[in-house]
């Protein structure tokens, strides 16, 4: 049985791949959205921290041999780096006129600076990160495509992390302050809560998510200093389509983009990259705030 000239099994396989790619986008887009939601900063260095997560994983594995340790440690390491970046660099733009632009420019500057640092430390060619032995091997073969266990791992991990994140934002005091800070930081400040610390933590959290996405993707892709570039732009498309300012937006956007990329790469490979930009243009024309965007965000 075929559809559009491709056997059904191939479609199922590609849907699965798309779902897994979507997971990576979800993790990245949520981090971006959290930072933007509270701080109004669109983090142009988000892709670079994703890349740093992958490199941190490489180093941890090189030092300890354990991927599992890397999975836990790398996001922490990069997250702490993110805290430092916020304290040392980002916070200098708060309150400045045109602060949002300054945020773009500063994070953009980081996205030029940090990859070259990485090249200095690790060299220009990429580094290999292997799938941990427990997760190698194929689970199933559908339509001639082998679906590895590692992809399922990504799916599971995302399915665990996302609800945890939701719980953090909606059921904890920290999350309450983050969400309150989004709507009224002055009030939050008046209540005696150290808002600037919340900003630092929020930024660190968003960065840690990006790094986590990097660790998780590392065994599947080429880990190179440039790996943050294209994915950043794709991430922007995810939040444009899904909508920023909500929790559902990045998730829905990530799933959609993951699928669009996966399916078009099967059906009409050449167009695969461009199609997401066309989709973005369509969303802009028909529903500028995105599918689940909060109305009035930067319109």
């Amino acid at each position: 049985m075929t559809f559009l000239g491709f056997p059904l099994e191939s479609w199922v396989a590609q849907l699965y791949v798309g779902l897994v790619n979507g997971c990576v986008f979800i993790l990245l887009a949520l981090g971006l959205s959290i930072i933007f939601g509270l701080m109004g900063i669109v983090n142009f260095a988000h892709g670079v921290f994703y890349m740093l997560g992958a490199y941190a994983a490489y180093s941890v594995i090189a030092a300890t041999g354990s991927y599992w340790l890397a999975l836990a440690a790398a996001p922490l390491i990069v997250g702490v780096l993110g805290l430092g970046v916020e304290r040392g660099i980002i916070r200098r733009i708060y309150g400045v006129k045109n602060a949002a632009f300054a945020g773009v420019l500063v994070t953009y500057g980081l996205s030029i600076l940090l990859p070259d640092f990485v090249r200095m430390l690790y060299g220009r060619p990429g580094k290999p990160v292997r799938i941990p032995p427990e997760l190698t091997g194929d689970l199933l073969t559908i339509g001639g495509t082998k679906l590895g266990a590692y992809r399922l791992f990504i799916l599971i991990v995302t399915a665990v992390v996302v609800p945890l994140l939701w719980l953090l934002l909606n059921k904890t005091n920290l999350g309450l302050v983050i969400r309150a800070g989004t709507s009224d930081s002055l009030m939050v400040q008046a209540l005696g809560i150290n808002v600037s610390r919340v900003w630092t933590i929020t930024f660190g959290l968003g960065i840690a998510l990006a790094a986590f996405a990097g660790v998780v993707t590392a065994p599947m892709l080429a880990v190179s200093p440039e790996m943050g570039g294209t994915i950043l732009i794709q991430c922007f498309i995810v939040v444009v389509i899904g909508g920023m300012g909500s929790f559902a937006g990045p998730i829905v956007g990530g799933l959609i983009i993951g699928q669009v990329l996966s399916l078009t790469s099967m059906v009409y490979d050449v167009l695969a990259d461009v199609i997401i930009y066309v989709a973005m243009a369509a969303v802009l024309l028909l529903r500028p705030r995105g599918l689940f965007g909060v109305e009035g965000i930067e319109d």
Binding site: F101, F117, I233, Y277
Partner: protein, 344 residues
């Protein structure tokens, strides 16, 4: 007589600039800024000025100017290589290509404002990049567009360009100089003031009766037009179109140039392009990881010298008691933040 000349200079710096441009190539080869570098600095200076029409003068941060620049470069290149057009027509076509690309990009991206607009320009600018890759039979793909024949100017007089750096310089200087005059005219005009009002306070400009969406679009079109000229000129200069012209890193380069020199000033983009190109030329031969240097300098400028070189100089000169200037680059005013990036 000297007093008369001095007061003329204060009122209109164009003759001085023209003089500098005329004399430069004869002096340049003895300085670190040799003629070819200077020519490139003029082209990129125009590009940065075009970019700054959107940012410094209208308040729109575009991160997709590589599309405007690159599409123009390729248009000019294709016409020169495949259609054997003349230099003048090809440059004009490049200019139009920049304008049209700006129309499409602006039409879509201006549905949003501020940083969201910036993100959109970045994403949209990817389309020409992929288009170039997808049509590699015509464009050469990653290898760039070659096959441009020896170039010579036919009108207003015969002037060989290929392999004649000085001729190239004068051709470029003439075109860039003309563009500079045009931009200056626009900035001083009622429309230029309208652009500035939109930059300063879009909401208030609207309440005053300005159709700010239309003004922004037109400003973006102007930005695209001049970026197109710059892209076309680079093709003439290099006799080649590298794919980097249409890559998003080119958008970043022009932002850096504009910020280095001073956004919102007229000389800033040219100072910025010269400094950047010199840095790239000088440092990349000596330091392997010179981008760390550039990125670091950029961050320092954004944080501590947001007015750039020219802007900061202007501020210091003004503080010594000159008349209040009409055009002022956006300057930081630290105030207690409500949210880190909301206007207080």
């Amino acid at each position: 007589m000297a007093a008369g000349a001095l007061s003329l200079l204060r009122r209109d710096r164009a003759p001085l600039v023209a003089l500098l441009l005329l004399v430069a190539p004869f002096v340049a080869d003895r300085t670190p800024l040799y003629t070819a570098l200077l020519t490139e600095a003029l082209v990129f200076g125009l590009f940065a000025l075009a970019f700054d029409i959107a940012l410094g003068h209208s308040g729109m941060l575009s991160l997709g100017h590589s599309a405007l620049f690159g599409v123009a470069s390729y248009t000019t290149g294709l016409l020169l290589a495949h259609r054997k057009w003349g230099v003048g027509e090809s440059v004009l076509a490049g200019m139009l290509a920049g304008l049209l690309t700006a129309a499409v990009m602006g039409g879509l991206a201006l549905r949003k404002r501020g940083v969201y607009f910036a993100m959109l320009t970045l994403a949209l600018s990817q389309i020409p990049f992929f288009a170039v890759r997808m049509t590699l039979d015509i464009t050469g793909g990653d290898d760039g567009l070659s096959g441009i024949p020896k170039l010579a100017l036919a009108f207003p007089f015969d002037l060989p360009l290929s392999k004649h750096p000085r001729n190239l310089y004068f051709f470029v200087a003439a075109v860039v100089g003309l563009c500079m005059l045009m931009v200056r005219r626009i900035l001083r005009s009622p429309f230029g003031r309208a652009m500035r009002a939109v930059r300063e306070n879009e909401e208030r400009a609207r309440t005053c009766g300005y159709d700010t969406q239309r003004i922004k679009l037109i400003a973006f079109l102007l930005s695209g037009l001049f970026a197109g000229v710059a892209g076309a000129l680079l093709t003439v200069l290099l006799e080649f179109v590298p794919i980097e012209n249409v890559h998003w890193s080119m958008s970043g380069t022009v932002v850096i140039m504009a910020m280095f020199g001073g956004s919102g000033t007229f000389a800033g983009p040219f100072v910025g392009s010269t400094v950047f190109l010199w840095m790239k030329d000088y440092l990349s031969k000596r330091i392997e990881f010179w981008e760390v240097f550039v990125g670091g300098t950029f961050i320092i400028i954004v944080l501590f010298l947001p007015e750039g070189i020219v802007g900061t100089l202007k501020r210091h000169l003004r503080a010594r008691g000159g008349p209040a200037a009409g055009t002022i680059a956006a300057s930081p005013r630290p105030r207690a933040p409500a949210s880190p990036t909301s206007e207080p």
